[in-house]
């Protein structure tokens, strides 16, 4: 009997000890919240007449690797924040991409207090909003002049969720413009005039296929091949489409009868799918396209004559190494018909959001406003002037060190961005166009972003077909007719109609407003 008692005492002791150990983490967190005296008093305008504010450390989580030389820049940023009497300092933590989404949601559900993080429609934004885990920012944005003005009105308007600003939209462009980066030297070698249409590009690719022995026509990563339907289409970058993307992969919206359909019924795509099939069979697209992961390297090594381009300020820069090849010249080709503006919903992919658990929301907004002042913006995004970069005119800069801050997590402001001085002329031109809100037409379904909660079982069943059917179809690996039929059968076979109906319902609600 006595021994049993001792056994239970031992177990109880072990249990309580481990409770104590696991409990420690929680206590630590609570402390950080407790010693925060002045929440959001000031409006962040640096006013030297104010008495120096007590500095509150704001904790941020962002995805990716820590930029090289980040400590030095962050130190400079924090010093300037102090000098400007904002009352905050930044504690920025980078989490690996691979588990960023999960880490943040786990931290949040575990009640960890942090002040800002990157969320996005492709991450957990809709769930976070639905569960009330992040806070609306409308009033706080309205009272911060620099922040409000550094982002175009269309962008503010189009990036609301349920009519509210749930995060600061971070983006540099207002719509997508796709095109090609091609080897200009090869084009000239075959006496071809400047390429202006998709048909011109096609002709160029076939010429390379026919005449070059070591250079192949076109390369793209298998994963990115979902862009091919948009790319190899005569309606590229125009409003002359009958179906537009809903931003739910594989589902499109008809402009004529306002119906949501699957990719198999979106007539605009027919031409693309047929071209992809043909290009794949003719060897314009690589036979290895399904597995290709090194398009950038292969193009830069001079093994291909053309690759994919997007006017986003990033894609074009990836191919500058190709210029090191003897005699190589590059050219950006963006087919565009000036008579018709492309549709854009002005939607951005990244948002700076403030979790409900943060006790310093006002202060976070003060910092965001402070970062909307050109000088401060440049300091965090490009580093210390003179050491990390130097200015080339008003809108360009020359990079001096390896410091590269992922601006999309915090600092991107359409009106403040500089382009690198080594950017291809064509790239710069198109990135600037893509950044101008007026270059685009407002998409009729602006404001729609899919909330899958009601049909999540069906949605979870349809999404794997993106990889297993839609991608091979876009890559040309699955012939157009067969692929479309297969996609339709598979998606409708697992209850895809319910997903379509739900998208329709949500779009109708947005359009009705």
């Amino acid at each position: 009997m006595r021994s049993k008692k001792m056994l239970s005492i031992t177990i109880a002791a072990v249990l309580s000890l481990s409770m104590l150990v696991s409990g420690c983490g929680g206590n630590g967190n609570n402390n950080t919240g407790a010693n925060t005296p002045n929440n959001g008093e000031g409006k962040g305008q640096s006013n030297s007449a104010d008495s120096p504010k007590e500095t509150v450390e704001l904790k941020a989580y962002f995805p990716g690797d820590k930029p090289s030389g980040f400590e030095d820049v962050l130190k400079a940023v924090n010093e300037k924040l102090k000098a400007d009497n904002v009352g905050a300092s930044l504690n920025i933590n980078f989490l690996p991409w691979s588990d960023y989404g999960n880490s943040v949601s786990v931290k949040m559900s575990a009640g960890e207090e942090f002040d800002m993080y990157l969320d996005a429609p492709w991450l957990s934004m809709s769930q976070m909003i639905a569960s009330g885990s992040i806070i609306p920012l409308d009033d706080m944005v309205a009272s911060r002049k620099e922040l409000k003005e550094s982002i175009p009105d269309q962008m503010w308007d189009a990036n609301k969720f349920g009519g509210k600003i749930m995060g600061i939209p971070l983006g540099t462009v207002q719509g997508t413009l796709y095109g090609f980066v091609i080897r200009k030297d090869l084009r000239e070698k075959y006496g071809m005039p400047e390429l202006k249409t998709v048909a011109d590009v096609e002709k160029f690719l076939y010429t390379v296929k026919e005449k070059e022995t070591t250079i192949k026509p076109f390369v793209i990563d298998g994963r990115k091949a979902d862009k091919l339907p948009a790319l190899f289409n005569d309606t590229l970058n125009t409003g002359k489409v009958s179906y537009i993307e809903t931003l739910v992969p594989m589902f499109y919206y008809s402009l004529e009868n306002k119906k949501v359909v699957g990719a198999w019924d979106a007539k605009t795509l027919d031409q693309s799918f047929e071209r992809a099939t043909k290009y794949y069979e003719d060897g314009i697209l690589s036979k290895n396209i399904a597995q290709e992961q090194n398009a950038q390297t292969l193009f830069n090594q001079g093994k291909y004559a053309a690759t994919y381009y997007a006017a986003d300020g990033v894609e074009g820069l990836k191919y500058l190494d190709a210029l090191k090849i003897d005699g190589a010249e590059l050219e950006v080709v963006v087919p565009h018909d000036e008579t018709s503006k492309p549709y854009s919903n002005y939607q951005q992919w990244n948002f700076l959001t403030i979790p409900k658990a943060s006790k310093h929301a006002e202060l976070v907004m003060d910092v965001a406003n402070w970062l909307s002042v050109k000088e401060n913006h440049d300091l965090l995004e490009y580093g210390v002037e003179g050491k990390d970069w130097e200015s080339v005119g008003d809108s360009s800069y020359k990079q001096l060190s390896a410091y590269v801050f992922p601006g999309f997590v915090l600092t991107w402001r359409p009106t403040l961005e500089r382009t690198p001085d080594n950017m291809l002329a064509g790239d710069k031109e198109w990135v600037e166009k893509a950044g101008a809100a007026d270059f685009f037409n407002l998409s009729p379904i602006t404001g729609f972003s899919f909330d899958a909660e009601q049909v999540k079982t069906e949605y979870a069943k349809t999404t794997p077909f993106f990889d297993s059917v839609f991608l091979p179809l876009s890559q040309g690996v699955l012939p157009a007719d067969k692929g479309k039929e297969m996609l339709k059968d598979k998606i409708l076979g697992v209850g895809g109609q319910k997903v379509i109906d739900e998208i329709q319902k949500q779009i109708d609600a947005v359009v009705a407003k």
Binding site: R2, S3, K4, M6, L7, V14, L15, L17, S18, V21, S22, G101, S105, M108, S109, W122, L123, S124, Q127, M128, A130, S131, G132, S133, K216, G222, R223, P249, S286, K287, N288, A290, Q291, Q293, K356, A452, K456, T457, E458, Y459, A460, K461, T463, P464, F466, D467, S468, V469, L471, P472, V477, K490, G493, V494
Partner: protein
């Protein structure tokens, strides 16, 4: 065997009281499992709830088995289940076979330096990340003209389009798995061999047994308990596809899905857009429960055949 007499809890406590430091050494380990393995079991609840960040685990609404629905009613459920089981069986069988062979061979090597160097070399792939291995595989078999094809053609055979032939991939993955894991496993077996009493070998040599006979009649039979325990341990994970491995090597190449898509990669693709904790936990729970059932069955079978080889 001596000491088979059953002893009560009183005797055990006496032992603990007598050797407090010895037993004390187990405390950190026990704590570790308690905190990281037993407390989190409570998270199983998520599989039966419509999990909501803001409401927490206890506050979220119960949904019964609804989270399991999408997985069990998916079109490809049977294919994925088959792939997961088949690949794991191939991995377990061939890795174990190769590891036993390697261990037996190493045991015969007498040159100390050669043995150490080759042991380290064969151990090395185990420390490579799957990403690196994936890139190696890609550079051997990928691209428009894979180097392996050049070798095959030099030998007078037809080239193979590796990235299209899904039928080949269970074998390719098995080869990669054996190359990566057999060296590591062989070290465990080698350690078990070292534990075999030298007396037995001496007696056998005096009786005039050949090297082969010693290997087959002494080393191998005495190695069986270790082999079966290692196998039982891997059977517990038979419903878990090795996500890191499969995704690093196959990636998004849908042409190879028919034979390589396993539960973990499938769930990853379904959840890429949805981020639903409930649904992913449901699948995780299914994998664990099935793993447990398999271990119990395999253990019972092993017990029937040889008591010492069983896990419990």
């Amino acid at each position: 065997m001596p000491n088979v007499r059953k002893r009560g809890a009183g005797y055990k406590l006496q032992q603990i009281a007598r050797n407090p430091f010895l037993y004390g050494m187990a405390v950190p380990g026990l704590l570790f499992f308690l905190i990281f393995s037993y407390f989190p079991i409570y998270g199983i609840l998520i599989a039966f709830k419509n999990y909501d960040f803001s409401k927490g685990i206890t506050g979220s609404e119960w949904v019964g088995f609804r989270n399991f629905n999408y997985f069990f009613t998916s079109d490809d459920f049977w294919i994925i289940l088959r792939n997961t089981l088949l690949l794991n069986v191939l991995f377990i069988v061939f890795t174990t076979l190769a590891a036993v062979l390697i261990a037996l061979m190493f045991n015969e090597i007498r040159n100390k330096y050669f043995k150490r160097i080759s042991q380290s070399l064969i151990f090395l792939p185990y420390f490579m990340s799957w990403i690196v291995i994936g890139m190696l595989v890609q550079s051997f078999l990928g691209g428009e003209s894979p180097p392996v094809n050049a070798w095959i053609q030099n030998l007078g055979f037809e080239p193979v389009n590796w990235m299209f032939e899904s039928a080949l991939w269970p074998w390719i993955l098995t080869i990669i798995r054996v190359w990566q894991g057999a060296g590591y496993l062989s070290i465990i077996f080698l350690a078990a061999i070292t534990g075999i009493s030298e007396d037995l070998y001496e007696a056998a040599r005096i009786d005039g047994a050949s090297k082969m006979q010693i290997m087959l009649r002494i080393t191998l039979p005495l190695l069986v308990p270790t082999i079966s325990i290692m196998t039982l341990l891997s059977v517990g994970r038979i419903f878990n596809g090795d996500f890191a491995m499969i995704y690093a090597i196959i990636g998004d190449n849908s042409l190879l899905y028919p034979t390589t898509d396993v539960i973990d990669t499938f769930v990853f693709r379904s959840m890429r857009q949805l981020h639903d904790f409930g649904m992913s936990s449901a699948v995780g729970l299914f994998q664990s429960v099935m793993g447990l059932i398999f271990v119990i069955i395999a253990n019972a079978v092993t017990r029937k055949m040889s008591k010492e080889s069983a896990l419990f």
